[in-house]
Symmetry: C2
Subunit: 610 residues, 2 copies
């Protein structure tokens, strides 16, 4: 089936629905970063398989917006019937202004309301209305209707998490949501983010690659909780878990319904006169409409913050998982250095990603990667979201830098770590200077102290100042929250220069990555990334009656000292690095001796004080 005929079929549907345009994006109904195969509608329709892109089909045009990462791939994959809209290029309008400019007043633009967040939909609706156009929610997705071999939803069994992994029974969590409802004069709260639902019920799934979640909605009411998912995923054990609780019986009542019945259930609550709360930054437009639209209490979902504030049990798991992950990664880096030095230009970036998984998988509790490994040698290291493909991967050698960004899902924690290495005898002065500046930024952020509640955008520059001094910078954020055996990217905190929706300040117990970098196009990439926990800095003063916070680094893997220009570091930076390496050595030695004894000498050498 050619792209043309797929577009042609969609055009027939548009004509039938009296639509002038239809938007097909990359999102699923849950704002997921990774989506399951069933939700790859834009790739099906356009043949463009990149992770980010939006298709717009009109009677006489088919356009696809994507960003610079994917210009080459999109131009190769799209047929001639498509026009590639290069986002960020001068004069290229984004989807919304394009629609406002090119469509006539009275036009009807369709979208599947499940596949767009409420805030996005309302902003688009307002812009279109201002031009006399209408945004039409089409619940019966015409792409699904024509997609004969569309995969079904995945159907993997859910698992129940034991108390010793999460430290807080779901009955207590649900009770807290119910208190929130009472405070906010609402009768129910709709949840749609998959990691929030997994966290709330202390269950995990494996419906989505790299993320231990299952496709679900949830509704918490004043006297019960409702989980909407494929009921075949709920084993008798999980059902017992859902019914169990250490708190009052009412909170523990979790009713399981089919995934498809969520919207109708919510509409029914609304019809009964209930005030059904939604967070328009999270919830899709369809659920929002079911809850009553503008009449629904607009709430800031309380589960986001509750999940981000790890308790002591979770933090202990985070620390333990990072030690095991450090054992695997350190042993792997040792293996890799030997392998590349023994036979340059034989191992590819793709081989590295595969082999690294073997090392991680030997560790207790390891499940699968927490995201697609980024393994970039030389110029590929400068491609920030590079994912090596088997056919095109570069071979690793001893001339340039190798950037490895990877992570694992463990039953007690999620990891995300980047190391940059050079396997040859002579890294260039440029590589060393740039690496040292990135390291200075990393250390500055690792040691910064700030008042609790400070938003990450206020401390983002801390990690960039050493690069800025030389006129260097990096085009990505500096940190993101990290789940505990959940999504590797989570909010509401983050460290970056862009304004985030629902962003919240850092509080004690939150996690973050610390990942400054530098990318020299066509040459090499550098990133040094550790995961940190926000902890009390125990300052001698507490101005403003606030706690002051700092970061505890939990990632445990040597930072390549071979690439450091020691003369560029201050005494306190050298002290931080030496203390970090002493800590890495102490934490990893037992595991290295147990699992990879051949790496002990290398670990000792790589963690020597400079």
């Amino acid at each position: 089936m050619s792209a043309l005929s797929k577009v042609g079929k969609l055009r027939a549907s548009l004509a039938r629905l009296r639509l002038d345009a239809f938007i097909v994006g990359s999102a699923d109904a849950h704002q997921s970063e990774y989506v399951c195969d069933r939700d790859t509608r834009r790739a099906y329709l356009s043949d463009f398989t990149g992770s980010a892109g939006t298709a717009l089909v009109l009677a006489d045009k088919a356009l696809l917006w994507t960003d610079g990462r994917y210009f080459l791939q999109a131009s190769q994959e799209l047929s001639d019937d498509w026009t590639l809209m290069r986002q960020g290029d001068t004069g290229v309008l984004e989807l919304q202004p394009w629609l406002c400019k090119h469509l006539a007043s009275g036009s009807r633009v369709g979208v599947d309301p499940y596949l767009m967040s409420t805030n996005q939909a309302l902003a688009l609706q307002t812009a279109l209305n201002d031009k006399g156009m209408t945004l039409v929610p089409v619940e019966a997705n015409p792409v699904d209707a024509q997609w004969a071999d569309q995969p079904g939803f995945p159907c993997t069994a859910a698992i129940a998490m034991p108390l010793e992994r999460h430290g807080k029974p779901h009955g207590e969590k649900i009770s807290e949501v119910q208190s929130f409802l009472q405070e906010n004069n609402a009768d129910a709260l709709c949840l749609s983010l998959l990691d929030e639902i997994a966290w709330l019920f202390n269950i995990r799934g494996s419906d989505v690659e790299c993320n231990p979640v299952m496709m679900a909605y949830a509704v918490v009411t004043s006297d019960a909780a409702h989980l909407f998912c494929d009921e075949r995923k709920i084993s008798e054990e999980v059902r017992q878990h859902l019914l169990s609780s250490t708190t009052e019986p009412t909170a523990a009542v979790v009713h399981v319904h089919s995934y498809e019945s969520a919207a109708a259930f919510i509409a029914d609550l609304k019809a009964q006169g209930k005030r059904v709360g939604v967070d328009p930054a999270q919830i899709n437009w369809s659920i929002y409409r079911a809850a009553g639209g503008k009449e629904a209490p607009q709430l800031l979902c309380p589960v986001t913050m509750a999940k981000a504030l790890k308790n002591d049990v979770e933090l202990d798991g985070v620390r333990q998982a990072h030690i095991r992950d450090g054992v695997a990664l350190t042993a792997f880096l040792h293996w890799l250095e030997k392998a590349v030095q023994a036979a340059p230009n034989s191992l590819s970036e793709y081989d590295v990603a595969v082999k690294l998984e073997e090392f991680r998988h030997a560790m207790p509790g390891h499940q699968y990667p927490s995201f697609d490994t980024i393994a970039g040698y030389g110029s590929n290291g400068a491609v920030i979201h590079y994912k090596p493909a088997q056919e095109t991967a570069l071979k690793l050698s001893t001339d340039s830098l190798f950037l490895l960004d990877s992570g694992g899902q463990y039953l007690d924690g999620t990891t995300d770590v980047t190391r940059t290495m050079h396997f040859g005898p002579e890294p260039t002065t440029r590589m060393i200077d740039c690496y040292t500046m990135v390291l200075k930024g990393h250390i500055a952020l690792a040691t910064v102290v700030f008042p609790e509640g400070t938003v990450g955008s206020r401390i983002d520059a801390v990690a960039r100042m050493s690069l800025w001094q030389a006129g260097l910078d990096y085009n990505h954020g500096t940190g993101h929250g990290v789940g505990t055996f959940l999504n590797v990217h989570e909010g509401p905190q983050g460290i970056g220069f862009r304004k985030r929706e629902n962003e919240a300040g850092f509080r004690i117990g939150m996690t973050t990555s610390n990942e400054p970098g530098y990318y020299e196009a066509g040459a090499f990439g550098i990133r040094i990334e550790n995961v940190c926990i926000t902890v009390d800095a125990n300052t001698p003063n507490n101005f403003g009656d606030k706690r002051y916070c700092t970061f505890e680094t939990v990632t445990m893997t040597p930072i390549s000292t071979k690439l450091i220009n020691r003369s560029m570091l201050t005494p306190s930076e050298i002290q931080w690095l030496n203390e970090y390496h002493a800590n890495v050595r102490q934490k990893l030695l037992p595991g290295i001796r147990q699992y990879y004894p051949e790496t002990e000498a290398w670990l000792i050498a790589e963690t020597e004080a400079i």
Copy 2:
């Protein structure tokens, strides 16, 4: 006339206008920080004379909102008929939520549309509409109608600025606005900020205390410019200046109209079918409505940025004015130290402010202060917006710190400088440690390098990090733009943690203050403030094809080294301080020798390297 009868009269007007409430704020029609006596309606009505506060009069209540600086003063000045609304206190609603909560659906809330910015008015209107209420613009201000002895507008003569002071004929500036109009498909632009109008026409006034501006509106059309002001202010010389130009004749046509005719002129343009652009963050609600309201092109006023980007002539003036200001302030600080040491507890904070003016006024080009001098000894130094009054001012002595924040208006520049001193033999360790941390923050910001276009909120933390390490902080912004013989506070740049309306990133040629501080309630205040110019850092790289900027400090006055704990400074911080002092010495010596030769030895001593 008692406050009751004034409120009673207003209530009678409200009944006649069928209004349930009327808002009387502190603003004039031009978003001015300082307002002229005619615009002190809130003080007239409530007897509360603080600079910030909003009165709300209802049939059975009169409320006044103000912030923590003024709780004491307001409670003393307000009669029993008023309820003080303590902004920031727990449970105290702001004006808008208070109206939404306490007034019934159908209520009509009045406001003088000249005295509220469009964005404020529209936000309030939306909130009220959502509750079924109406915001009613009342052009004939009922407070003015009842205020028998309301002062008239000031009528001071305008002056024309010569080319050697500003470097850019107003014809060129107007032409650039006309190009902007063309690019934005508009026929006219309304201007209301007094400093922007003064800058655009290269004229100055003295209608408003501390600010060399005159009460005016302006409208630039595609073929002319219109200035609306009291025509008696325009001498024949200024009229000739307005008609002169080095560019094409059309741009130079400046028509002068009466101040009161602005809104009617704008409404007339709109009636002729012209597209009359407004910046809703700047323009008052009345002018916005005259321009067509929602139909008017909503533009980001281009004069704001043009004025902020100083040209070389202006920057030279800024540097020269700061040297002369430094001569006066340094000589004054020397005089003050001697005076306090000779007779502790005799000079008051108020005396200091008066005497300082004498020193400044001896300098060529000096006009008047650029803001009310803040002179706080001991615990008064911890009151951030402290303004000494003759009756209550503390006497200066040798036990505590003295904070002096002051500035001058010179024909070639505007200054703003804060120094903190101790006149006794033994400042405490606490004072020294805190002072040194503030200095470290000041130096960190003075030396930071950042990509051009970086917004100030991203670098605000740079000035706080040293304080944060100890659990200390300060509750004010770190920097504001400074005009050139214009307002001491100007946008669109700024360095702070709060989001500013129309905020723009730093660009080469912009000015900023650098003023971290620390305030220990009941004990002392510390602030070290210099004015800086944003300059090219000439970095060896220019990642992202951007220029990288840093700050050139132009304030020239010694920073008290007696209060520094040298062991807390890094070698590069010591180097910065010593280079700064060497520069101060070199720049000030000629003027000190000319005007205050008795201070030469003190200047040398105070600028010795540490």
